[in-house]
Structures are given as C-alpha cells and as structure tokens.
Subunit: 220 residues, 2 copies
Amino acid sequence: MTEDKKISMAVVRRLPRYYRYLGELLQKGVGKISSRELSEKMNVTASQIRQDLNNFGGFGQQGYGYNVEYLYNEIGKILGLHQNYKMIIVGVGNLGQAIANSNSFSKRGFKLVGLFDVNPKLIGMSIHGVEVMDVDCMEQFVKENGVDIAILTMPKTRVKETAENLAKWGIKGLWNFSPVDLIVPDTVQIENVHLSHSLMTLAYMINEAEEEREKKNKSE
Amino acid sequence: MTEDKKISMAVVRRLPRYYRYLGELLQKGVGKISSRELSEKMNVTASQIRQDLNNFGGFGQQGYGYNVEYLYNEIGKILGLHQNYKMIIVGVGNLGQAIANSNSFSKRGFKLVGLFDVNPKLIGMSIHGVEVMDVDCMEQFVKENGVDIAILTMPKTRVKETAENLAKWGIKGLWNFSPVDLIVPDTVQIENVHLSHSLMTLAYMINEAEEEREKKNKSE
DNA sequence: TAGATTGTTAATCGATTAACAATC
DNA sequence: TAGATTGTTAATCGATTAACAATC
C-alpha cells in the first residue's frame, strides 16, 4: 500500500553521475560529504541533490551530511547495480566489438554471455572469451540462458524485426544503437543511444556559440 | 537588434529526431505533412512540434501544413548541417575505430581528417584513407588544418589534459566519450556520450518495471 | 467560400530552487 | 548547547499542452 510517487526520468538520469562522483570520492578515501560540497564539485544546486536523493529515502544525517560509502552503495542499489545482467551483442561490427572489448561494464554486473552476427567470417570467432554465434541460434540461446539485455549494434534494416523477436523471447532490456525508434511491449525497456543525434546537437552548439560571438563583436 | 529568446536544449535535442523523420518521409516521396500527422508518427504532441519549430520561424502554411523537403532543409540549416566540419579522433582503440569506420557522419558534412594515438603499433596505419598519427603531432595538425571537432575516445586518464590543450589550439567542439566532466573555456562546446550512464539507466528501468509488475500481481 | 491547419497566446503541468523547521 | 546540515514544504521558473484567432 506504500503509495510511492512516480520518479521522473530527469532524476533517474542524474543518478549515474552522482554515483560516479561518489565512487571517485570513495576511492580518494573521503568519508563524508555535504550536499553543498558535492554540489560545488558537480556544478549543480545542493537543493537538487537533496531533492533527488529524498525521492528514494533519507540517506543523510542532519548536521553531518552523507556518508560517502553508504550513499554510493544505496545509489548503486537504486540503479540495480547489485544485480547481475546477462547481455548479448547483436551485430559484431566495429561498434559491437568496441562494446564487447570494454571491460568497464562487466565490473558492474553487466556480463557479456554471447555475440551474434550473420557474417560467416565472424561466426566462430571469440572476443574476450565470448563466442560469436549465428543469429539463427539466437532464439534458443536467449531462452536457454535467460538473457536480460540485448545490445543492438546491427544495421538498422534488421533492427525492428530483431527487437520484436527478442521481446517475444523474453528479453528485458534493449540497448539500441540504431537510428530507429523501436516499438515493443512494455515488458521490454529501451534505452536509445543515437550517436548521430548527439553529433548534430554538437554542431548546433558550435554554430550557436559562433553566432553569439559575432553578435557580441558587432555590438561593440 | 533582433532580440531572440534563448532556445532551450530540450528543444534543440528534439530537432535531430524531427530531421530523421522528415528525411524518411522525403525518401518515401511524401511532399507535405501536418503537425498532427507527424505527431502521430513520432508519438509526440502536435502542439510541441509547432512550438518547437516556431522557435526558429514559421516554416508551415495555414490550412496546408509543412512542405517536407523545405522543412527538412531548414532544420538541417538550424542544426548547422549545411556546413562542413573537420574532425579528428583522439584515441584509436575499438571505439575510435568504430566511429572512424562509420560513414554515416561523413555524409552530413562531418569529415574525418586525422586520427591520433600514442600506440606505435597503430601510428602509420590507415583507416578509410585517414592516417593514424602520433599525438605529439596533434598541435601542429590541429592548427594547420583548422580542425573543428575532436572526438575523445581515449583512456580517461589523459582526457582532461588533452581537452585543455585542444581548447588552446582552437578546437570548437569536443565529442567526449570518456566518463569525465571536462571544464573548458566557453569558446569550446562539449557534448558528452556517457555510455555507462546510459546502461545504468537501462538497468534502473528494467528493475523499476519488474517491481511494478510484482506490485500489480500482488494486488490482484 | 468552407475547411484545414498553422502560429501564437493562455493555461497547465512538472521540475528546479529557495527557505526553513527538524534534528543530529 | 550552538552550529551544521538534512528533509521537506513553499515559491519560482520553465516546459508542455490546450485553445483559438489568423489565414491559406
């Protein structure tokens, strides 16, 4: 019956950043921190930090601040990093390989268990001890191994169909790198990484800044 | 004296998505579209589309809608895609190579002109006709070639220093893939791609959805 | 002209910031 | 106890949605 208010994604997307900063503090041996100190480091308001955290409960102590290690772990729990996730990569091109080779994810419970591609030249290869398999074997593999997350780094032409299949086979999350908006049942969560959007935004910012400078010069 | 109101990043970050959808319509040969039709395709409100576009001017016609090709081109201009950008990649590991090999950027005026690494094994190699050079040559290269954008795909230990140097050498934009928040003069624009944040957010959503389902089951 | 749809103003909603009482 | 800082409510700000007059 605990009627908890829905937490906004704006808040959720700030948590990993808090987590990163707290992790760094922890490594430096910092034991406690106040919302004000953290806000100065992170360039946000102390008020926002306190509001954000209090969505999930009171992690601090009045007059003292927050225990770094405790808060770090609690945010980790909120983000679901205390659990393990079995991941597969679908599409072992450059980007797929780049992600497969990045070991920073496995550190946090994201375990790569399979790689899939259509290219016979890649099938049978091994990256970081994980085998590249034929996509035709994917259904069986996903079902037998209880794969949680599929990383979609394949050509966009086949993404839609693949996503729909993976949803049917019980996948819980899709990390989509294709410039496509996927529609799946609400049993499947989607996180898009649209690199081209990101680059276009940078282009906008560059132009905007330049115009701003020109205008300023003119007015002088 | 045209006192133009500052456009929020929330709006700007929606533009690439409009641009993508309009590009697809254009390819399909669709000539015109109303804000309502587009809103249904994109799953946003028609009101938002009209508001967003009117930040930059009136691109439509009452009683008719928007000319797809015209609007596509106008958004392209707003995003700065009519210009060309010289880009370098700093750090030619897996991710750097993946981006270097992606030809989708060059199509839109983002031209890769140089690759840089510290690894002697990579230096001298060529990817897509672009040579991998020693980072020691980067200052000269950036200054002589008027490089606009640097893509930072290097280990995070050296990112801070590199970003500061690139800022000094006149770079206009940094596309940062390191889990680091960079501080640079306001002549340099930064766009961060924090893949680990993205994956953590997905983990949160998976857990959240699962809890939601459990709660629902219990209450039945 | 009648119908459609924009551009734009007004209303609503949500997110951020400020303030301060509670409390360590 | 006095000082510090949280947790939380209230005020502000900004973004989204609704409504409709303008106009093609």
